[in-house]
Amino acid sequence: MTPSRDQLHWMYRNMVTSRRLEEAIAKIYLEGKTPVFNMANGPIPGEMHLSDGQEPVAVGVCAHLTAEDVVTATHRPHHQAIAKGVDLDRMVAEIFGKATGPSGGRGGHMHIFDPAVNFACSGIIAQGMGPAVGAALSRKVQGKPGVAVAFVGEGAVNQGGWHEAMNLAALWKLPFICVIEDNAWGISVAKAAATSVPRNDVRAAAYGIPGHHVEDNDPYAIFEVAGEAVARARAGEGPTLIEVETYRLAGHFMGDAEAYRPEGEKDGLFAKDPIPKMRWRMLTDGTATETELDAIEVESAERVDAAIKFARESADPAPEDALTSVFAA
C-alpha cells in the first residue's frame, strides 16, 4: 500500500503544520520565562512536551483514519492531534489556557479533547490504552464502524496497563491498534536501559497478534503498515502492534538540557529530520512540485499563525469557572 499523491500532500501538510506549531510554541513558551526560567510564567505555563521529529508516525497512521475513528494520545500529543484533525484554533487556545479552548482552559496541553474527531489524550504513561480498547469494544459491541488507535511512547510499553490492554484487545479481537513511537528515550532513560528486548514488536507474540517494526522514521513505511493494520481492524480481524523508530528532536520537555544524550546524537538526528527528507523524496520521485510544497509550507505557517493569534486574543477563563464541569451538565 503506497500513499496516493493526495495522501502524500496531506501527510506533508500535517507534518509541516505540526512542526510550525511546535516551533511557534517553543518560542512563545519562553516569553516571560527569561531571564529566570520559571515554568509558571509566560503565556504558556506548565510542562511542554514537543513532538518535533515524530510527525511521520502521526501522519502515516492518521492518513488511514476518519473523524469517526478514535485516537488516544499521550503527554506529547500535538502532532497526533493535528493529524487527527483536531480544531487547531481551539487546541492552541487550550494550550494557552484560554476560555476558547475545548476544555475552557481546564485541561492544558496534556489534556486536549475533541469529540468531533474522537480525540483524547492524557498525562499518565500508558493511560490511553484502556480507553482506546474500550472505544474499540464499544464499536464492536454496537456494530458501529471505527477503529481505535492508542499512540504511546516506547517507555510506556513497560507499564502494566499497556500489557493488560493489549491482552484484552487481542482476547476480544477488537478493532484496535497500538502504535509505539520509539524515540529511544523516556525522559533521560534510554530504551535499552528500560526495555528488556531491543524491539517491542516482538511483544505482539505475547498476545497472538501481528507485530510490525518500522525503521528510521519513514512516513512511507509507516503509512504502509498502518494501512494494513487499519484494514485488518476494519475487517474484524483484531488488533495490531506497530513500533516505529522515530526521533525526538526536542528535549523531553521545554527546559530539558539533555545532558544525558550521548554526544553527537542530536546532530545525527537533525541530519535525518523527516520533513526535509520527505520533501526531497517527493520532489525526486515527482509526487510533488516545489510550487506545491512551498504553498503547503506557506499555508501551514499561516494556519499556525492564525491559530496562535486566535489563542492570544482569546479571553482568559473566569477564575471561578474552575469550579464547573466537574460533573456532566
Binding site: 478514535v70 488516544t72 479552548g101 475545548p102 476544555s103 475552557g104 481546564r106 485541561g107 489534556h111 479533547f113 475533541d114 469529540p115 474522537n118 483524547a120 492524557s122 499518565i124 493511560q127 490504552m129 484502556g130 480507553p131 482506546a132 480498547v133 474500550g134 472505544a135 474499540a136 469494544l137 464499544s138 464499536r139 459491541v141 454496537q142 481505535a148 502494566g160 496497563g161 493488560e164 490492554a165 491482552n167 484484552l168 482476547l171 464547573t324 464541569s325 466537574v326 460533573f327 456532566a328 451538565a329
Partner: protein, 339 residues
C-alpha cells in the same frame, strides 16, 4: 421503609434487578468485570444477567482491572453506559489511576465535552475474617478525590434505586456495597438490609442523606453496615431513655451536609460510625462539616466509632475488637455524658 408484606429482596437481588431493568430498556448499558457472567458475581449482584442478556453485554474479564476499567471509560466516552465491577474495593490499588485520574477527571479535563457515564460497583467491608486485603471499606479514599459520585446503600430498597440512578447518571458513580449486607448467607448477612423492593424501576436522587430514625438527644451518622449498628444502638439507648436520631448518609459524594447539620442542631450531639479507617476519612469529615458550620449547637464533643488505624487483622477476636458495633456506639454516648 421496612414494609413487611410483599416483596423482600436482598441487596444482591435488588442490584441485579436494577441492572437488568436498565439493560432491557437501554442498549448502551453493558456489564463487565471478573466472574460477573456464569458465576453471577461473587456477591450475587449480577446473577441471571448472562442468561438473559448474553455474553456480549455481560462480559467476564481477565484479571486486568486497569484495562477493563480504562476500557469502560473509553466505552462511556464513546456513548455507552458501562457498569463495571471491581470485585473487592481492596483491589483498587492496582487500577486506581484509571478510576481517580481518568474516569473521575475526563469530564473536567474535557470541559464537559466528553461524558463518562459509568458505574463502578465494588464490594466493601469485613467481619467474616477475610484478612487485611479483602475486608476494607476505604470509603474515605474514594470520597476524597474529586470527580466521582460515591454512594453506599444500607438496604435493598436504596440499593435498587441508587443503582438505577447511577446507571442513568451522566457522571461516573462509584457504588460501594457492603458484603455483610448483600444477603449472601455465606457472608453472614444482616437481615435488616433485606427489605421490600418495588418491582418497577425507580431511581433515588444521588446526594441525599436519610434520617432513618428520629431522635432528639444525639445524632448518629453512618453509612452501609454502620447504619444497622446505629439502629441497634438506638434501640438500646431508647431503653436507657435516650432518643437517638440516625442518619444514613447514602451518598458520600455529594455529601448532604445540610441534613447532618440540621440534625445536630436539633440534638446537640454527634456520633459518627464508620467501618473505614478512622483518621483522614469519613468520620473526620462529618465532624468537621458540623463544627466548621456552627459549634454553638454542640453540647458535647463529637465522637467517632471507626476502625482503628491498623490493617485489618484476620483472627476473628482481633477483627471484632476493631470493628464498630452497637455496644461501642452506646459506649460513645456514655462517654459523652461523662465528659
Amino acid at each position: 421503609m421496612n414494609k413487611t408484606n410483599e416483596r423482600k429482596l436482598t441487596i444482591a437481588r435488588a442490584m441485579a434487578e436494577a441492572v437488568a431493568q436498565e439493560l432491557r430498556v437501554d442498549p448502551r448499558v453493558f456489564v463487565m468485570g471478573e466472574d460477573i457472567g456464569a458465576l453471577g458475581g461473587v456477591y450475587g449482584n449480577t446473577r441471571g444477567l448472562l442468561e438473559e442478556f448474553g455474553a456480549e453485554r455481560i462480559r467476564d474479564t481477565p484479571i486486568s482491572e486497569t484495562a477493563f476499567i480504562g476500557a469502560a471509560v473509553g466505552a462511556a466516552q464513546d456513548g455507552m453506559r458501562p457498569v463495571v465491577e471491581l470485585m473487592f474495593v481492596d483491589f483498587f490499588g492496582v487500577c486506581f489511576d484509571a478510576i481517580y485520574n481518568m474516569m473521575a477527571k475526563n469530564t473536567y479535563f474535557s470541559g464537559g465535552s466528553f461524558k463518562v457515564p459509568m458505574v463502578l460497583m465494588t464490594s466493601t467491608g469485613g467481619g467474616y475474617s477475610d484478612g487485611g486485603q479483602h475486608s476494607q471499606c476505604v470509603y474515605g479514599t474514594f470520597a476524597h478525590l474529586p470527580g466521582m459520585k460515591v454512594v453506599a446503600p444500607s438496604n435493598a430498597y436504596d440499593a435498587k434505586g441508587l443503582m438505577t440512578a447511577a446507571m442513568r447518571d451522566d457522571s461516573p458513580v462509584v457504588y460501594m456495597y457492603h458484603k455483610g449486607l448483600q444477603g449472601m448467607g455465606w457472608l453472614g448477612t444482616e437481615p435488616g438490609a433485606t427489605v421490600h423492593v418495588p418491582e418497577e424501576s425507580y431511581a433515588l436522587e444521588i446526594g441525599k442523606a436519610k434520617v432513618v430514625r428520629d431522635g432528639t438527644d444525639v445524632t448518629v451518622v453512618s453509612l452501609g453496615m454502620g447504619v444497622h449498628h446505629a439502629m441497634k444502638a438506638a434501640k438500646e439507648l431508647q431503653e436507657q431513655g435516650v432518643s437517638a436520631e440516625v442518619i444514613d448518609l447514602v451518598s458520600l459524594v455529594p455529601l448532604d451536609r445540610d441534613t447532618i447539620r440540621a440534625s445536630v442542631a436539633k440534638t446537640g450531639r454527634l456520633i459518627v460510625v464508620d467501618e473505614d479507617y478512622m483518621s483522614y476519612g469519613v468520620s473526620g469529615e462529618i465532624i468537621a462539616s458540623v463544627t466548621e458550620h456552627d459549634i454553638s449547637v454542640l453540647k458535647a464533643p463529637p465522637k467517632r466509632v471507626a476502625f482503628p488505624d491498623v490493617p485489618i487483622p484476620f483472627a476473628r477476636v482481633m477483627e471484632q475488637f476493631c470493628l464498630p458495633n452497637p455496644d461501642k456506639i452506646v459506649a460513645a454516648w456514655a462517654g459523652m455524658q461523662a465528659a
